[in-house]
Structure formats: structure tokens, C-alpha cells
């Protein structure tokens, strides 16, 4: 294995050349064998990264043909239905990309699909990180970067589908301008500055273009780089399992296994996006026609990730106030759904790791992931937020739903106005109960082993259900749970009667801590587990001799004598027969 090919000789010489100049071998020596833990859910972030690379790549190609200009031209391309129609250069060039550049439509559709996948993958990746507690110390910064990436991802998507200047994209911009205009005090001026005057103007597409192809991707690229560097230095979290501790990483080395798997996965994501881009139409701008400020098509739908905002706009009651005397207008009906609600969502999202750390008073580093059931309050809060988001999202599709299910739009809106307030707390309660139920089940398993479903009658007449001892892996996974105790209530004054000045803050912290950790099914002690598993092993040992009755008659007799319930007899007899056969 020590033979060196000519290629390797060149490679080695290059490595030496580079090393003498930048000292790269120090990095390589530490990192070529770097261990990465393996779990399917760790691929979600990879999908986000790879689809972002595809967005960048296809986007660079699109810039070669796209003309971000609102100057009017007459269409004269291959798409017959629009021949001779007056339109902006932006729309004209987007049509040319779709019909007259070979592979252009493929690039456009790959760009759009990979953008949709990028944002979806970021969202699901964020769920994984949230529900497993991967955002805890030392990874709070990476969580914040992730929230930033999601925000910029939404902006990138919105600015992108606003560029082709088709009827749908123009309608989206019209709505965006309406929102800007609703901002108190500066809104009207801000809208005029952004659009160089009234809507639609002639400048906005070229301004948006710079934002879409340089500013936002630059920011995303910078944040992605820091995100990955932090993942690299802090090492990836891992799920609990045998041999896995808070102080180690168990998995595969970078070279060759992780590199082959991650590199291969990049090509899989890329390949699938290319297939989807070739086979599934997305954003058929030629059907919508060029943008005109006095036209619209019914069933106007934004891309999926803007749906929650559109739903919020649709669901909001029509409140507006005018300050008497000065005549200033406050459009609550736009401000609340379009700015306040997203503002609250993203602020809470960003602050969550810090809130949880404060409430728990936990200062340790966490490299072992939580199972969602073991953090019932966090899991319930997450599900509550998701249910709120999903309901808003349903609101964004209310017209489609109304048509598809023959419902009245008005009743859908009223349904949402009520459920947006009622459902999230319900989801919270149900999720937390479910988590506690699962914890109880885990405890049972640790104390008694798992139920094998086999009923035995012992020689002295006692019936038992055979419990089997858990596997090493199951025990390791279940016992990795950490039982937090709520923080104690503060004293109003110390023993000398000096008033506690920080009483209020401490009380709030105590109450939140009660809220977080007041409900919990404590993990059994090591001795209890030992006893429980021993008991299960004992059960299994009792059952073992059964299998020695190889003579079918004996078994039937034995069981015929034991089991009184006919249904149960059947089941158990069948099971035994199956066991015999195998």
C-alpha cells in the first residue's frame, strides 16, 4: 500500500510547496481524520448548503442573459402568444431565457427549485436543531447565524421572484410597496425613495437586481462560511448512544468515509434539482403575461415561504386609526401582520437559546443532543410556534382552499382568526402531555425491560408477562436524559432583613423555571435500572427452558393447560409455533 503513483508524487510535491508558504500541513494533520457523527437528520443542513451552491451556480448563468431593466420593448421571440406585446426588457429577457436560450429554461427552473429547496431545508434543519437542543452552549452564535440565514433566504427568494416583471411578480411588489407605505412617519417617503417615485416607476427592478445578485447572496455566503467554520471548530453534536459522551465524537473520519458520503450527497442533491428542473414546471412566467399595474390574476400565490405573511395579511381584521387633528394614519391591518408578527417571530427565534439558558441556569457545554421528549416544554413551545405558522400559511392559500373544497372564504378567515388564538395553546398542552407519556414509557422500559408480549404460567401457577432486557444501545439512549430541577424561589429578604433588590427578576426566573421543569418524569437511579434489567433478564431465563420443548405435543399440552382465554391461547400458540419454525 505504500507504492506511490506519479499523480500522488505531483500531489505530494504540491502539498509541500503550499505548506512551505501557508503551513497547510498543520491544518491537514489535524483535520483529514476529523470525525463526523452520522445521523439522517444531520443531512438536512447539508441539503440547505448544497441547494444554496446550486442557486449560486445557476444564478451566475442567468445573469449572463437576464436584463434587469424596465425599459419598454416589443416582444419578438419564439413564444407565439406574446409576439408583438409591449413589455419590460426584464420580462422580455426572462422569456428569451425560457424559450430562446437552449437550456435556459432548465437553468431558470433549477434556480427557482433550488431556492425553494434551500429555504425549506433551512426551515427543517432549524426544527432539528431546535427540538434536539443543539442550539445550547456553545452553539448559540450558530443559532443566531441560522436565524439570519433564514431571514436573508426569505429576502433572496422574494427579491428573486420579483425580478422577471411578470404579472405575478409585479403584484408581489405592489403588495410590498403597500406594506412599506403603511410604516408610520417615514413609510410614504421610504416608498418613494425605493421606487424612485410612484409605483411602479422605472427603476425598481434594476435596484432590486443589485440587492438580489450581490448584496443578499454576499451576506448569505459570509454567514454560511462562519456557520460552517463554527461547526468545524465546535465539532458536530451527536445523539446519545453506547460509547458516546459529552466529551467525544463517535462517527466516521473525514477521509475517506465522510468526504465520500457528503461529497456524494452534494451530487445527489444537485442531480435531483437538475431532474426536477427539467421535468417539473415552476413559475411559468409566460402564462402570467407582462406586468401592468391595473391587472391581476385570481389565485395569486406567492412562493411557499412568503405564504405565512400573505396569510397574516389576509386574516387580520381591518383595523386602522387616524390620529385626530393631525390626520396621521396608522394602518394596523397592515402593520401587525406584515411587520409586527414577523418581527416577533424572528426576535423570539433569535433570543430563544438565551432565554432557555437563563431560565435553566445551565452553564455547561452540550454536545449530546436531547431527545425531544426529554425537553417537554421546549418541544411543546416549538410545536406551538409551528402550529401558529402553519395556520398563517393555510390563510395564505385560503382562496385555493375555498375553491378546492367548495368552502366560503369568509368562513375560512373566521375559522383562522379563532384557531390562531385557540390552537397553539392546545398544541402546547397536547405535545407536553405526549412527551411526558413517552418519558414514562422510557422509565418503564428501564425499570422492567421491554414487554415481549408473551404470557407465561410458572410451575406454581403464577402468570407473568415475559420482559426482555433492553439492548446496550437502548439503555445508553434512554439514560442520557438529564433531569433538571426548577430553580428555587428567591427570598424577599435575607436573614438580616435586608430587602432583596433583585427579587422580581429572580421570581420571574423561578416561575419560568417551574414552567420549564416543573413537569418531568425522573429517570430511575442506576441501582433501580440495574435491578429492573436484572429482573427482565430473569424473566427471559425462566422462559428459556420453554424452547427446549421441541416436541410439539408437549408445548400444546403445556399451553393448553395454562391459558384460559381462548383468544389469548390462539395468539400465544401461534407465536410459539412461529418461534418453533424459526
Amino acid at each position: 500500500m505504500t507504492t506511490t503513483s506519479p499523480v500522488e508524487k505531483v500531489g505530494g510535491a504540491t502539498a509541500t510547496y503550499v505548506d512551505q508558504r501557508v503551513g497547510s500541513n498543520k491544518f491537514l494533520s489535524r483535520n483529514l481524520g476529523k470525525v463526523f457523527p452520522d445521523h439522517w437528520s444531520f443531512m438536512l443542513g447539508e441539503i440547505a448548503l448544497y441547494s444554496f451552491i446550486v442557486v449560486l451556480l445557476t444564478g451566475v448563468f442567468l445573469t449572463l442573459w437576464f436584463k434587469p431593466s424596465m425599459a419598454e420593448v416589443v416582444y419578438d421571440g419564439s413564444y407565439v402568444p406574446l409576439k408583438g406585446v409591449l413589455m419590460s426588457e426584464a420580462y422580455d429577457s426572462a422569456l428569451n431565457i425560457s424559450f430562446d436560450v437552449r437550456g435556459g429554461l432548465l437553468l431558470r427552473q433549477m434556480h427557482h427549485w433550488s431556492a425553494l429547496i434551500f429555504i425549506a431545508a433551512m426551515a427543517v434543519h432549524m426544527f432539528r436543531v431546535f427540538f434536539t437542543g443543539a442550539f445550547r452552549k456553545p452553539r448559540e452564535f450558530n443559532w443566531l447565524i441560522g436565524v439570519g440565514l433564514t431571514t436573508f433566504g426569505l429576502l433572496a427568494g422574494f427579491s428573486g421572484y420579483s425580478l422577471p416583471d411578470d404579472l405575478l411578480s409585479g403584484t408581489g411588489l405592489q403588495i410590498a410597496r403597500g406594506i412599506v407605505q403603511a410604516v408610520p412617519v417615514v413609510g410614504t417617503w421610504a416608498a418613494f425613495l425605493l421606487f424612485d417615485g410612484e409605483f411602479p416607476g422605472t427603476e425598481f427592478i434594476s435596484r432590486l437586481y443589485g440587492v438580489h445578485i450581490l448584496l443578499i447572496p454576499g451576506l448569505i455566503l459570509a454567514l454560511v462560511t462562519i456557520h460552517l467554520m463554527l461547526v468545524w471548530t465546535q465539532k458536530h453534536t451527536q445523539f446519545p448512544g453506547p460509547g458516546r459522551t459529552n466529551d467525544n465524537v463517535v462517527g466516521y473520519p473525514l477521509l475517506p468515509v465522510y468526504m465520500a458520503k457528503a461529497g456524494g450527497f452534494f451530487f445527489i442533491v444537485f442531480g435531483i434539482i437538475a431532474l426536477v428542473g427539467g421535468l417539473v414546471t415552476v413559475n411559468p412566467i409566460w402564462i402570467f403575461g407582462p406586468y401592468m399595474p391595473d391587472q391581476v390574476s385570481a389565485g395569486s400565490q406567492p412562493d411557499w415561504y412568503i405564504g405565512f405573511l400573505d396569510g397574516a395579511l389576509r386574516t387580520m381584521p381591518n383595523w386602522e386609526s387616524v390620529i385626530p387633528g393631525v390626520g396621521w394614519t396608522i394602518s394596523w391591518n397592515i402593520l401587525i401582520p406584515a411587520l409586527v408578527i414577523p418581527g416577533i417571530i424572528f426576535t423570539l427565534l433569535g433570543l430563544y437559546p438565551f432565554i432557555e439558558a437563563w431560565v435553566t441556569g445551565d452553564k455547561r457545554e452540550h454536545n449530546l443532543l436531547d431527545r425531544p421528549r426529554n425537553a417537554p416544554t421546549r418541544t411543546a413551545l416549538g410545536m406551538m410556534a409551528i402550529s401558529f405558522y402553519v395556520l398563517l400559511w393555510v390563510g395564505g392559500a385560503n382562496d385555493i382552499i375555498a375553491v378546492a373544497f367548495d368552502l366560503s372564504i369568509n368562513s375560512i378567515i373566521w375559522f383562522l382568526r379563532i384557531t390562531l388564538i385557540v390552537v397553539p395553546p392546545l398544541v402546547f398542552v397536547v405535545t407536553r402531555r405526549t412527551c411526558l407519556g413517552l418519558q414514562r414509557r422510557d422509565r418503564e422500559k428501564l425499570l422492567h425491560g421491554y414487554e415481549s408480549g408473551r404470557i407465561l404460567r410458572l410451575p406454581h401457577g403464577e402468570f407473568i408477562e415475559v420482559h426482555q432486557p433492553l439492548s446496550e444501545k437502548d439503555i445508553a439512549v434512554i439514560t442520557a436524559k438529564h433531569d433538571y430541577a426548577p430553580l428555587p424561589a428567591p427570598d424577599k429578604a435575607d436573614v438580616d432583613g435586608v430587602r432583596n433588590k433583585r427579587y422580581r427578576a429572580q421570581m420571574l426566573r423561578h416561575q419560568l423555571s417551574e414552567f420549564f421543569y416543573g413537569v418531568n418524569v425522573p429517570k430511575p437511579s442506576a441501582a433501580e435500572i440495574e435491578a429492573g434489567q436484572h429482573h427482565a433478564a430473569h424473566d427471559a431465563a425462566i422462559e428459556a427452558p420453554l424452547h427446549e420443548y421441541e416436541d410439539a405435543d408437549q408445548i400444546h399440552t403445556f399451553h393448553g393447560g395454562v391459558l384460559h382465554h381462548p383468544g389469548m391461547a390462539e395468539t400465544n400458540a401461534e407465536q410459539l409455533q412461529q418461534e418453533q419454525r424459526s
Partner: protein, 380 residues
């Protein structure tokens, strides 16, 4: 390569080679050898599978180039499920997708079947820096603070802060000219511009004959119908007489001047404010309107731009006289002053007072009496 595979043969995890590499195998995870570990035939089969995928990938690249050259960009094929699709796009997407995908599947198969599948362990270290490094950093900071005199020279410190706060101001000030008024907007404030439209007393109303596109076919559906009556060609860009519009009908219309103004201004801004719809109902069906006598024989003119966030409104239900915005479903009752009956819009639809000129054509009596389109701070 041999060093890296050592852990497999090193179940106790204390071998010298893996320790040097920074990781050791996990002793207590039972490892079941794969067929490719024990059976050389299976290993060779896996090798052939991986190599075939790489080969196929190359083949698809060739097919891509062939498709790029051979398939006409306008040719259409019928594919079951997908229907009529552009042949070039499907062929290029399929071949390129397969070429890339096969590289990925080959690499994964290689990793899963032929590379070691024994998990290894590496130690972590807390992120916190060693105490000594922190002390050194602190000492360096103190030295810098002392040597710069940042604390001693109070005047320097304060003027520095002032300069740092002020220097971005030019960058912000320059943004003012993001909006440069034209000869048409010179001297007018944003609020003025948003409050006026092209309509003036005596301005004729003409049917809008701009391109409607294929999208109009999606305009109807579900309970709310009311396909906007697209002006027939004979009406496009022509002034409208009351008798052109039947009871229950709707026409999208614009001021007579609009095309000229658009041409002169070089933008579509005037259209975004002046677009209206004309609807006709039996005069006794009109319960109220925004001004007395603003209709002509049951013909009412309303702004087409939604007062919520500005979408053009297209869906009209003849039976109820409700006008529904397709964007956020604000609903206005045109038989009752255009008042909001449902949805997020707070303001009624502005009505345009109309009459008939001496030649019998519909004209505006004045501009709108309230601003059209979405609310804004100064609107009042």
C-alpha cells in the same frame, strides 16, 4: 491508506496508529461484517456497481451534448402525466440530472460497501481558552490601553467618538436622490402625488384595451365568479356610451389621456392610480353612493386599485354587487358606496363621479375626492 484502516483491526482502541490520528475505535459497539468485508466476490460486485454508475454518468454527459445540438428549441413532445412539454428542456434536464445524480449514488455506494464502516472516537475539548491565554490577552489589552492614552486624553477620546458617529452621515444623505422628481412631479410631495390622479372634469372614459394575457382564464372559479367583461375589440380604446354597458356588466376603463401621458412620462405610474371599473346595475339596486348623482343611469365608476395594499381588483359578483380583491380577499359592496363588507381593507373603494358629455360619452365629473390605493401616513 493503511494507517487509516488500522482501527478496524484494533478492537481495544489502544493501538498506536489510531492514537496518533486523534481517534480510536468504539470498543463496545458490536460490528457485523458486511458481505463485502468477508466475500471477495461481493466486494468485486460492489466495485463493478460503482464503476458502472461512473460510466453511465459519462454516457449521460454525451447524451446531453447530443440533445443540446440535435433537439430544436421549439419542438414539443407529449409525455404521459406531464402532457405537452418542451422537448429540449426535458431532455437536457434529464441527461444533466442523471449525469450528476449517478456520481452521487456511485460515491455513496462506494462509501457504504467498500470503505470501513466501523465508527471511531475522537475527543472533544471545551471551547474556553486556557487560563494563560486569557491572562496574556488581558495583559496585552491593558498595555494597549496604557500606551494609546485612550483614558488619559479625554479630548481625543470624545472627539474620536463624535467623528465615528458622524462619518456615515454622507452615505445616508446621498440616499435622498433615490427619488429624483421629473417635470411631472416637480414640487409635489409624496402625499400630493398619492392623492391625485389623471381624472379631471370632462375627461372621457375609454375602455382599457391593453393585453389581458392567458391569465384571464384563471380569473373565474369557485363561488365567486364574475369574470371581468373584457372589452370586445370594437370597444378597446374607444370612449364609452352608457348603452355600451349592459346591466350586470363590468368594463375596465382608463382616462382618454392615459396612453399619451404614459408615453410622455415614460412609465406606468398614472395607470396605477387612474384605472377604474365601470359597473352597471338597475338604478333601484343602488342603496347608496359616495356623492349624489355620481352615477349615470345605474352606471357607477370605482377605482380599480384595492385600498388595502394596492392590488388591482378583478372579481365582481353580479348578483350581490360585491367586488373581491384576489390578493387578500377584501370585499367591497359597490351597491353601497363601495363600503368594505369583509376582509383586511379598512377603507371603502373610492368612487369617481361620472356624467355624460354633449356627444353622449361617459366622462368624469372631477378627480376622485379621496386618495386611491393603499393608505399612507399623511392620508388622514
Amino acid at each position: 491508506m493503511s494507517d487509516l484502516t488500522t482501527p478496524q483491526g484494533n478492537p481495544d482502541g489502544h493501538g498506536s496508529a489510531p492514537a496518533k490520528l486523534g481517534y480510536s475505535p468504539v470498543a463496545d459497539i458490536p460490528h457485523k461484517p458486511r458481505a463485502t468485508d468477508t466475500d471477495p466476490k461481493a466486494a468485486r460486485r460492489a466495485e463493478r456497481q460503482v464503476a458502472s454508475m461512473f460510466l453511465l454518468s459519462m454516457l449521460f454527459v454525451v447524451l446531453f451534448v447530443v440533445a443540446y445540438v440535435a433537439i430544436d428549441k421549439t419542438s414539443v413532445v407529449y409525455i404521459p402525466v406531464m402532457g405537452e412539454v418542451g422537448a429540449s428542456n426535458v431532455a437536457l434536464g434529464f441527461t444533466m440530472g442523471m449525469a450528476i445524480l449517478l456520481i452521487g449514488t456511485a460515491a455513496i455506494q462506494w462509501a457504504k460497501k467498500l470503505m470501513p464502516d466501523v465508527e471511531v472516537v475522537q475527543q472533544r475539548h471545551d471551547m474556553v481558552s486556557p487560563k494563560r491565554a486569557t491572562l496574556e490577552a488581558e495583559a496585552n489589552y491593558e498595555r494597549g490601553k496604557e500606551e494609546s492614552g485612550f483614558v488619559r486624553f479625554r479630548l481625543i477620546r470624545r472627539t474620536l467618538i463624535g467623528a465615528m458617529v458622524l462619518f456615515p452621515i454622507p452615505l445616508v444623505v446621498m440616499l435622498r436622490d433615490l427619488w429624483t422628481p421629473t417635470e411631472y412631479t416637480e414640487g409635489k410631495s409624496p402625499a400630493d402625488l398619492l392623492s391625485t390622479t389623471l381624472w379631471t372634469g370632462g375627461m372621457r372614459i375609454v375602455a382599457d384595451g391593453t393585453y389581458q394575457g392567458e391569465h384571464s382564464e384563471t380569473d373565474s372559479g369557485g363561488e365567486i365568479t364574475g369574470e371581468p367583461v373584457s372589452p370586445d375589440d370594437s370597444l378597446a380604446h374607444r370612449p364609452i356610451r352608457p348603452e355600451d354597458l349592459p346591466v350586470g356588466g363590468l368594463i375596465a376603463a382608463i382616462p382618454l389621456d392615459l396612453p399619451e401621458v404614459e408615453h410622455a412620462e415614460g412609465n406606468l405610474n398614472a395607470r396605477g392610480k387612474a384605472a377604474i371599473i365601470l359597473v352597471r346595475m338597475e338604478p333601484d339596486e343602488i342603496r347608496s353612493q359616495q356623492g349624489t348623482g355620481w352615477d349615470v343611469e345605474g352606471i357607477l365608476a370605482y377605482s380599480k386599485i384595492c385600498t388595502h395594499v394596492g392590488c388591482p381588483i378583478a372579481l365582481y359578483e353580479q348578483r350581490t354587487h360585491h367586488l373581491l380583491c384576489p390578493c387578500h380577499q377584501s370585499t367591497f359592496d359597490l351597491a353601497d358606496s363601495g363600503n368594505v363588507v369583509f376582509g383586511p381593507a379598512a377603507r371603502r373603494m373610492p368612487q369617481l363621479p361620472i356624467g355624460v358629455d354633449e356627444e353622449g360619452y361617459l366622462v368624469a365629473l372631477s378627480d376622485f375626492e379621496e386618495p386611491v390605493g393603499p393608505s399612507f401616513w399623511e392620508r388622514g
